[in-house]
C-alpha cells in the first residue's frame, strides 16, 4: 500500500518535471540583468522595461524559431559582486539563452569572468571607456571614438575652444576616457597648462569651489570648454551651480557624455540651455523608426511624459540584432549566434543602419546636441554616415597596436598587430 503510494507520487513528480522541462524547451529565455534597487536603479529600471517591451513585441510577431520568448528578470541591486552571482544564476539555474544587462563599467567587469567561464552571451547597452572586447559580450553603446573624440573635435573646430577642463567622477570610465582625451588633445598641440583635470567623488553635491575654479580657468581670454564625464546624479548640483554663478553656455560650454533626456527630466533645465551632450541618439531626432519607437514606449510604460534615451536605443538595436542572428543561425546556441551576429545590420532609430562589426562593436552615427528649455536635446552637429566603434583606443600607447577581431583567422579580442600575437587574456 505504502509502496504504491510512493510509486504514484514518484511518477507524478517525474511527469511534472518532464512537463516542466518540455515547457521550458518551448520558450527561449531572455535574461535581464539590470539593477532595480540601489543607486543605479534610476538609470537601469528604464532599460529593464525596454527589454520587456521588446520581448512582448517579438512575441506578438510570433516569437523566434517558432518558440515564445520569456523574460527572466533579476535584481543585482547596484551591488557589483552581486552582478556576477546573478549572472551565474541566470545561466546555470535559469538556463537563459542571452542576457541584456549592466550599466556601470564596474558591473560589466564583474560579470566578465563568469560569462566567459560559462560561455554565456551578454549585450551591454551603455557608452563606455573601451579597452575591452570579449567573445561573449556585444557592446551596443558607444566606444570613446564614437562619443568623446568627436565631441572634442566639435569643441575645437566649431566652437574654437582652446582651453579644456576635463571634469569627471572618480571611477574607471571617466579616468580612462580622460586619459584618452588628454593624449588626444596633447597630440593635437594643446599645451599642458591649457588642460585642467578634476575628479570628484560619486554623488558630489558641493560644486562651489570647483565651479569657481573653472570660472577662473576660463577667464584668461581664451575660449574655454568643459568636457564632462560626471556621472548621473552629481550633474544636477553641478549645472545648478554653473547657473547660479552666472556661467552661461556661451561663456563656457559644457559637453556631457552621461547626461541624456532621462537625467534631464529630473531637473529644471532653464539654466542648462545651450550646454551640450554627445550621444548616438536623441529623442528629438526625426525619423519614422524613432516616431514609432517613442509611441510604442509611451504606450508600453503608460506614461505620455516618459522620455527615451541613448542606452534605450542601444538596447533596441542589440535586441533586434540578436533576434536576427538567432533566426540566421537557426539556434540559440551561443557560439553559433556569436558568429551569426557579426555583419548583422538593422535600422537604428536615427534613420541610418547599424552594423555589428567583427570587434563586437557597432557602427553608429555621432550626434552633438544642445539642451533645450523643455529638457529635449536638439542636434546641432552630426557625423557624415556612421563611425565604427574602436575597441582599443589609438591614442593610448598601451593599446595603440591592439585590435579586436572575432572572425577567423584572428579570432581574438586583443590581437597585437605588431607582434601578430593574441595575448590570450580575454578581458
Amino acid at each position: 500500500m505504502k509502496f504504491r503510494q510512493l510509486l504514484t507520487a514518484t511518477t507524478a513528480t517525474f511527469s511534472l518535471l518532464l512537463s516542466l522541462s518540455t515547457l521550458a524547451a518551448d520558450t527561449i529565455k531572455v535574461g535581464v540583468l539590470h539593477s532595480l534597487s540601489g543607486t543605479m536603479a534610476i538609470s537601469e529600471t528604464t532599460l529593464k522595461d525596454t527589454v520587456l517591451m521588446m520581448v512582448e513585441e517579438q512575441n506578438k510577431k510570433g516569437g523566434l524559431l517558432g518558440k515564445k520568448l520569456e523574460a527572466v528578470v533579476v535584481d543585482p541591486a547596484s551591488n557589483w559582486p552581486l552582478f556576477a552571482e546573478k549572472t551565474r544564476e541566470l545561466i546555470t539555474k535559469e538556463k537563459v539563452d542571452v542576457i541584456f544587462g549592466c550599466w556601470t563599467s564596474v558591473s560589466r567587469k564583474s560579470v566578465l569572468p563568469v560569462i566567459e567561464e560559462l560561455n554565456g552571451l551578454l549585450f551591454y547597452p551603455v557608452q563606455y571607456e573601451g579597452e575591452e572586447s570579449s567573445k561573449n559580450v556585444f557592446y551596443t553603446g558607444a566606444a570613446p571614438n564614437q562619443q568623446a573624440i568627436p565631441a572634442v573635435d566639435y569643441f575645437a573646430n566649431e566652437m574654437g575652444v582652446e582651453r579644456w577642463v576635463l571634469a569627471g567622477t572618480d571611477y574607471v570610465y571617466p579616468r580612462t576616457t580622460n586619459k584618452i582625451l588628454e593624449a588626444y588633445l596633447r597630440a593635437n598641440g594643446v599645451a599642458k597648462e591649457d588642460i585642467m583635470i578634476s575628479y570628484t567623488p560619486f554623488g558630489h553635491s558641493d560644486w562651489q569651489g570647483i565651479v569657481a575654479d573653472i570660472k577662473k580657468f576660463g577667464s584668461t581670454g581664451k575660449k574655454t570648454g568643459v568636457v564632462s564625464t560626471i556621472n548621473g546624479d552629481a550633474n544636477v548640483p553641478f549645472y545648478k551651480e554653473l547657473g547660479n554663478q552666472g556661467i552661461s553656455a556661451e561663456d563656457i560650454p559644457v559637453v556631457a557624455f552621461s547626461v541624456g533626456e532621462e537625467e534631464l527630466s529630473g531637473l529644471d533645465t532653464k539654466p542648462l540651455v545651450g550646454h551640450l551632450a554627445a550621444w548616438n541618439y536623441f529623442q528629438s531626432v526625426e525619423s519614422d523608426e524613432n516616431t514609432a519607437f517613442i509611441s510604442k514606449w509611451k504606450k508600453f510604460i503608460k506614461d505620455s511624459k516618459r522620455v527615451t534615451n541613448d542606452p534605450m536605443e542601444a538596447t533596441y538595436i542589440g535586441f533586434n540584432m540578436w533576434a536576427q542572428a538567432v533566426e540566421k543561425a537557426g539556434t540559440t546556441d551561443v557560439d553559433s549566434v556569436e558568429q551569426a551576429m557579426i555583419g548583422i545590420t538593422t535600422p537604428n532609430l536615427t534613420g541610418g543602419i547599424a552594423v555589428m562589426n567583427a570587434n563586437h562593436h557597432l557602427s553608429k552615427p555621432v550626434l552633438i546636441g544642445e539642451i533645450q528649455a523643455d529638457g529635449q536635446i536638439e542636434t546641432v552637429w552630426e557625423t557624415f554616415g556612421t563611425v565604427i566603434g574602436d575597441a582599443w583606443s589609438d591614442f593610448l600607447p598601451s593599446s595603440k597596436s591592439l585590435i579586436a577581431d572575432w572572425t577567423a583567422p584572428v579570432s581574438c579580442g586583443n590581437f597585437n598587430t605588431e607582434t601578430a600575437k593574441c595575448s590570450g587574456q580575454n578581458f
Binding site: 532595480l36 534597487s37 540601489g38 543607486t39 536603479a41 534610476i42 529600471t45 566649431e158 566652437m159 572618480d170 578634476s198 575628479y199 570628484t200 567623488p201 554623488g203 558630489h204 553635491s205 558641493d206 562651489q208 569651489g209 570647483i210 569657481a212 575654479d213 577667464s219 584668461t220 581670454g221 546624479d233 544636477v236 548640483p237 545648478k240 551651480e241 547657473g243 547660479n244 554663478q245 552666472g246 553656455a249 556661451e250 560650454p253 532621462e262 527630466s265 529630473g266 531637473l267 529644471d268 539654466p271 540651455v273 545651450g274 551640450l276 544642445e370 533645450q372 528649455a373 536638439e378 546641432v380
Partner: protein, 525 residues
C-alpha cells in the same frame, strides 16, 4: 505714402520668413541682415536669443510664443507685436539656435541697444563688448561716449576703451593714460590685459619695450593681484561656511536623537529624504506659487518627518532601549525599507524641485567675488534653525524635560516626568529637523531615493567630531569641517580632500574620544 518705419518692418517680415527653412549653418547671414534693420528687428532678435521664437505651422508666420496657463502658448507677431490667439504646442514649431548664434545675437543686441534710453540696458550692452573689444566696437563706443551722460555707463565705456588702447595702441601717452583708468579694476579682462603687457617671450626677454609702461603696469598688476588674493580668501571662507551650514543642518537633528538621546539612528538620512520629498509634494500641490511653496514646505516637512520619526520610535526603537547594536541594525533596516518605499511610490527617478527665482543667481559684490543666493540663504537658515532649537531646549518645559531625561532617566521618572512621552517627542523633534534639512537640500542637490545615504556619514561625522550630546559642538564641528574641506580642495582635489578630512577626524577621535566639546560632570555617564 509709406513711412520709413513700415519699410523696415516689411524688410524684417521678409527676412524673418526665411528663418524656418534655414539650417543652423545658413542662419547667421540672415540674422546679420536682420541687424541692419535696427530697432525694428530687436524684439525678434531678443526672442530668438531667449529661445521664444516659433513659427506657426498653419501660415508660416514667425511668432514670439510664451507658455501661458496649461498647455496653451500665447502668441505675439514677432514683427508687428500684435497679439494673436493662443494655440497648443502642436500648432507651432520652434526655431532652434545654437551657441554660435547665441553669441552672435548677444553681440548684435548689444550693438543695437547701445543707443537705448535705459542706462541699465546701455551698461549691459557695453559690458558685453568689454570682453571682446575690436576696432569696430571701439568706434561704436567712442561714438556712444560723446552722447553718454550716465556716470556708471561712462566708466565702463572708458574702461573698455582703456583695455583696448593698452594692448593695441602705439601711442605711449594714451597707454599710460589707459593704465591710470584701469587702475584697481577687478574685471578679469583687465588682469588679462596687464599680464599680456608684462609677458615675456620664451627666452625670458620682456615683450614690452617701454620701461615706463612696464613699471606702471607692474604696479597696477600687483595691486590688482593683492585684491584678487584677498577676495579669493573671502570666497574660500564663504564656501567653507556654506558647506559647514549644510553639515550643521543635517547634523542638528542627529545631535538630538544620537547626541542627546543616545539612539544610533541609521534612518536619519531617510528622514532628510522624506523632508526633501515634502518640498516636492508641496510644490506639486501649488503649481502656481512656486516662489512661496518652499516656505510652506518647511513646516510640512517638519511635521511629516517628525511623525515618521515618532512612529519609528514608538514601534521599534522603544523596544530596543539600551541595546545599541540592535538599534543600529533595526534602524538600518528601516532606512532600506523607507528607500524602497519611496522608489515604489515615486519611481526610482529623481524628482524635480524648481528653485524659486529668489533662490537662484548670485549677489555680485564685484566682478570676481559673488555669493550665490541659495547658499547664502541656507547659511542664514541653518543658523536660525540652530538658534530656535537652542531656545526650545533651554527655555521651554519640553526642553527642560528632555535635558532631565537625558541626564538621569531614573531620577526624572521619579519626579514625575513621563519619560516615554518625552522620548517620543525628542525623537520627533530631531526627525523633524532632519526633514527641514531635507527641504534645504532640495535646493542644492537631487531629490531621489538615495538622497539620505549621501549625507548619513557626514552627519555622524559632525556629531561625533563636535562631541556627542553637545549642540554647540555640532555647530563648531560642522563649520570647521566645512572650512577645512574647502581649504584643502584647491590643492588636493575634491576626492583627496574628503579622505584627508576623514583621516584627520579618525586621528582626532583616537586622541580625544569624546570629541571637541566633551560633556563634563555627571551628564557624561
Amino acid at each position: 505714402m509709406v513711412s520709413a518705419g513700415e519699410v523696415t518692418h516689411g524688410e524684417v517680415r521678409e527676412l524673418s520668413q526665411r528663418l524656418p527653412s534655414a539650417k543652423l549653418r545658413t542662419l547667421p547671414p540672415i540674422v546679420e541682415q536682420l541687424e541692419q534693420c535696427g530697432e525694428a528687428a530687436l524684439p525678434l532678435l531678443q526672442a530668438m536669443l531667449k529661445g521664444d521664437l516659433w513659427v506657426r505651422r498653419s501660415d508660416k508666420l514667425i511668432v514670439i510664443a510664451e507658455r501661458g496657463k496649461g498647455a496653451e502658448f500665447t502668441l505675439v507677431d514677432a514683427v508687428s507685436g500684435v497679439q494673436l490667439p493662443s494655440v497648443t504646442k502642436k500648432k507651432i514649431k520652434k526655431i532652434v539656435i545654437n551657441n554660435r548664434l547665441r553669441v552672435q545675437l548677444r553681440d548684435m543686441i548689444a550693438r543695437v541697444t547701445l543707443a537705448s534710453e535705459d542706462p541699465v540696458i546701455r551698461e549691459s550692452a557695453v559690458r558685453n563688448m568689454l570682453n571682446k573689444m575690436s576696432a569696430d566696437n571701439v568706434a561704436l563706443l567712442a561714438k556712444a561716449r560723446l552722447t553718454e551722460n550716465d556716470r556708471q555707463v561712462l566708466a565702463v565705456i572708458d574702461l573698455s576703451l582703456a583695455v583696448y588702447a593698452l594692448n593695441h595702441s602705439t601711442d605711449r601717452s594714451l597707454r599710460l593714460n589707459a593704465l591710470d583708468v584701469i587702475d584697481g579694476s577687478l574685471e578679469p579682462v583687465v588682469a588679462n590685459a596687464l599680464s599680456a603687457v608684462l609677458a615675456a617671450d620664451s627666452s625670458g626677454v620682456d615683450l614690452e619695450k617701454d620701461a615706463d609702461v612696464r613699471l606702471k603696469a607692474q604696479q597696477a598688476f600687483s595691486k590688482i593681484q593683492r585684491r584678487i588674493d584677498f577676495y579669493e580668501l573671502l570666497e574660500q571662507i564663504f564656501y567653507g561656511l556654506s558647506l559647514g551650514s549644510v553639515l550643521l543642518l543635517i547634523a542638528t537633528g542627529l545631535a538630538i536623537t544620537f547626541g542627546v538621546m543616545g539612539v544610533i539612528n541609521m534612518a536619519h538620512g531617510e528622514l532628510i529624504m522624506i523632508g526633501a520629498y515634502c518640498a516636492y509634494m508641496v510644490q506639486l500641490l501649488m503649481p502656481n506659487s512656486i516662489e512661496y511653496s518652499i516656505l510652506l514646505a518647511i513646516p510640512c516637512a517638519f511635521v511629516v518627518s517628525g511623525s515618521v520619526g515618532i512612529l519609528i520610535q514608538r514601534c521599534v526603537i522603544r523596544h530596543l532601549h539600551g541595546r545599541p547594536l540592535e538599534t543600529l541594525l533595526a534602524t538600518f533596516g528601516i532606512s532600506l525599507i523607507l528607500q524602497q518605499a519611496v522608489r515604489s511610490i515615486f519611481s526610482p527617478l529623481n524628482r524635480q524641485v524648481i528653485s524659486p527665482s529668489w533662490l537662484s543667481g548670485s549677489l555680485e559684490i564685484n566682478p570676481i567675488f559673488s555669493l550665490t543666493y541659495n547658499r547664502l540663504y541656507i547659511l542664514v537658515f541653518a543658523l536660525i534653525v540652530f538658534s530656535v532649537l537652542q531656545l526650545v531646549l533651554k527655555r521651554t518645559s519640553l526642553g527642560l524635560h528632555v535635558r532631565a531625561v537625558s541626564q538621569n532617566r531614573g531620577m526624572a521618572k521619579a519626579i514625575g516626568i513621563r519619560t516615554e512621552r518625552v522620548d517620543a517627542l525628542t525623537f520627533g523633534l530631531g526627525s523633524g529637523i532632519a526633514g527641514i534639512a531635507g527641504v534645504a537640500l532640495s535646493q542644492l542637490t537631487n531629490v531621489g531615493p538615495n538622497l539620505g545615504q549621501a549625507y548619513i556619514i557626514d552627519s555622524f561625522m559632525v556629531v561625533v567630531f563636535g562631541g556627542v550630546g553637545n549642540l554647540w559642538g555640532t555647530l563648531v564641528g560642522g563649520f570647521s569641517l566645512g572650512i577645512a574641506n574647502k581649504f584643502l580642495e584647491p590643492t588636493t582635489g575634491a576626492v583627496l580632500a574628503n579622505i584627508i578630512v576623514l583621516v584627520g577626524i579618525i586621528l582626532f577621535i583616537q586622541k580625544r574620544p569624546s570629541g571637541l566639546f566633551p560633556q563634563k560632570g555627571r551628564a557624561a555617564e
